[in-house]
Amino acid sequence: MPIYSDKVMDHFMNPRNVGEIQNADGVGEVGNPVCGDMMTFYIKVKDNRVDDVKFKTFGCGAAIAVSSMVSEMAKGKTLEEVRKITPDMVAKQLEGLPKNKHHCSNLGAQALNKAVDDYLAKQGKGPGVKSRRRQKDEKEATCEEG
């Protein structure tokens, strides 16, 4: 009985879109080394769509798989669609996550959103309308448990 689903294992072993985008249109970083999870997302935007996405992640197997899955889900989507990617959707696409690893799926969605924020800010469009969820997320600066 492995801890992780086959889908998580696949994305962990063969993570999609690992790397960095030089001159990215938006960069989002969440987590910190003290908490044991840190993700940086890079996006290229074209015609209001995520044209390319890359990530770097420090963290457990779930954190890496989540990053990979989020990057795949984001690719080609409009920025509005990207905003609608929820942690639950990520977990579901990964065929479930262990209870104590759910916070990883939060982090993934957050990092992507932050990259979009960054893109919009650079465009002088301001951070756009943040979802209520994201505002709440940002308040949680201490390490999440479970």
Binding site: F12, E20, P33, M38, N100
Partner: protein, 395 residues
């Protein structure tokens, strides 16, 4: 694929001879040791033989050995039962900062029951200094518990010196020897220990079989209420096959200890010496020489323990980690933290523990497999990225 088990700290395999000794008690010798008939007599004999063997392993008398279900139960009974039995003399308890949770959390439970608790610090090698123990003692200290050896970083404590300090104060001295007993020489009489916990699955015996040694004259309250087993001190139908297996494992450990230690120390040193020359930015945790024979523990910078374990597993290697992610509670290892290791570094904890079945080629398999794994994860790591950029910037 080569399968290499290097997680003997989590649990060891059961030796065939141990299983052989247990099997009659899972087949024809099924009686209850408390029964008054041949079936009971036969089984009682098996239990008493095991008691003698466990006693012999740790230099105790057979009647000083109580059988329990695990190291955790032994530690709970020791910490709570010893402190509660001495509480008329005082309500102060001392344990080290790097104890196993079964000791640490039991001590916290005592706090809730009105005891005061002092945690003795350790140095950066994980060593408890007898002087620190002395400093923590008070006139109302009734119990001191310092683990014999630490599972996570391998460090072995100077038990005789610590015991001497505690004995002078008149407090009862317990030691969690779950990682030590059966693996290194442990002698309660010579060392001056009043109570000691051990567990069979740490030295090639079965899971579910622990023991608590309580020296004659030391009062202890039972943890479980019930019938007459173990003189009423640990009631419940005895885990007869487990007890017999524990006994056999103890006998074999005593006999084989010198050669086992030599074998394991060589394997461990092969990793301790070999890995840092292959991997940058990693450190040994625990003491270099005063450490468990089979234990090679490290912290590796910029990457996280669980992901290393998963990639090692893909290479057929079983190891463990004190990383927060590998603990269900997602807390950084209190052991590494107590040793002054920064939390971000502790996430990169990695522990290889050799067993008697391992060979040099197993160490070599790690020496080959780990460097590319570390490289792969570092390539993904934003922390390593930042480090490289800073370094380049610094130049």
């Amino acid at each position: 694929m080569t399968k290499v088990y290097l997680d003997n700290a989590a649990t060891t395999p059961v030796l065939p001879e141990v299983l052989e000794a247990m099997l009659p008690y899972l087949r024809e010798a099924y009686g209850n040791p408390q029964s008054i008939h041949d079936w009971g007599d036969e089984v009682r004999e098996g239990i008493e033989e095991a008691r003698g063997r466990v006693a012999a392993l740790i230099g105790a008398s057979p009647e000083e050995i109580l059988f329990t279900s695990s190291g955790t139960e032994s530690n709970n009974m020791a910490i709570k039962g010893l402190a509660m039995a001495q509480q008329s003399k005082g309500k102060h308890v001392v344990v080290s900062a790097i104890e196993h949770f079964s000791v640490l959390h039991s001590a916290r439970t005592l706090e809730k029951a009105g005891f005061e608790l002092t945690l003795v610090p350790v140095d950066k090698h994980g060593l408890v200094h007898p002087g620190e123990v002395a400093r923590s003692l008070r006139p109302d200290t009734v119990l001191v518990s310092i683990m014999w050896a630490n599972t996570e970083v391998g460090t072995i404590q100077p038990m005789a010196e610590i015991a001497r300090v505690v004995k002078e104060s008149g407090a009862v001295f317990h030691t969690d020897a779950v990682a030590a007993a059966g693996n290194i020489p442990v002698d309660v009489g010579q060392t001056g220990v009043d109570a000691l916990s051990l567990a069979a699955n740490q030295f090639y015996g079965p899971k579910g079989a622990g023991a608590l040694c309580v020296k004659r004259g030391i009062r202890i309250l039972p943890l479980l209420d019930g019938g007459v087993q173990e003189g009423g001190r640990r009631p419940g139908t005895e885990n007869v096959p487990g007890i017999v297996g524990l006994g056999k494992a103890a006998e074999m450990a005593k006999m084989g200890m010198p050669s086992r230690m030599k074998h394991l120390t060589a394997l461990r040193d092969r990793l301790i010496d070999g890995l840092p020359s292959r991997i940058d930015h990693m450190m040994l945790t625990g003491h270099r020489t005063q450490r468990l024979p089979g234990s090679a523990s490290f912290c590796i910078e910029f990457i996280e323990g669980e992901s290393m374990l998963m990639l090692l597993n893909q290479k057929g290697i079983a190891a463990s980690s004190g990383s927060a992610c590998t603990s269900r509670a997602l807390k950084a290892s209190h052991v590494l933290t107590a040793m002054g290791i920064p939390v971000e570094l502790s996430h990169g904890s990695l522990l290889f523990t050799f067993g008697i079945a391992n060979a040099e080629s197993d160490a070599d398999h790690v020496l080959e497999s780990l460097p590319p794994i570390v490289e792969r994860l570092r390539k993904m790591s934003p922390l390593y990225d930042k480090f490289l950029k800073q370094e380049r910037g610094g130049k």
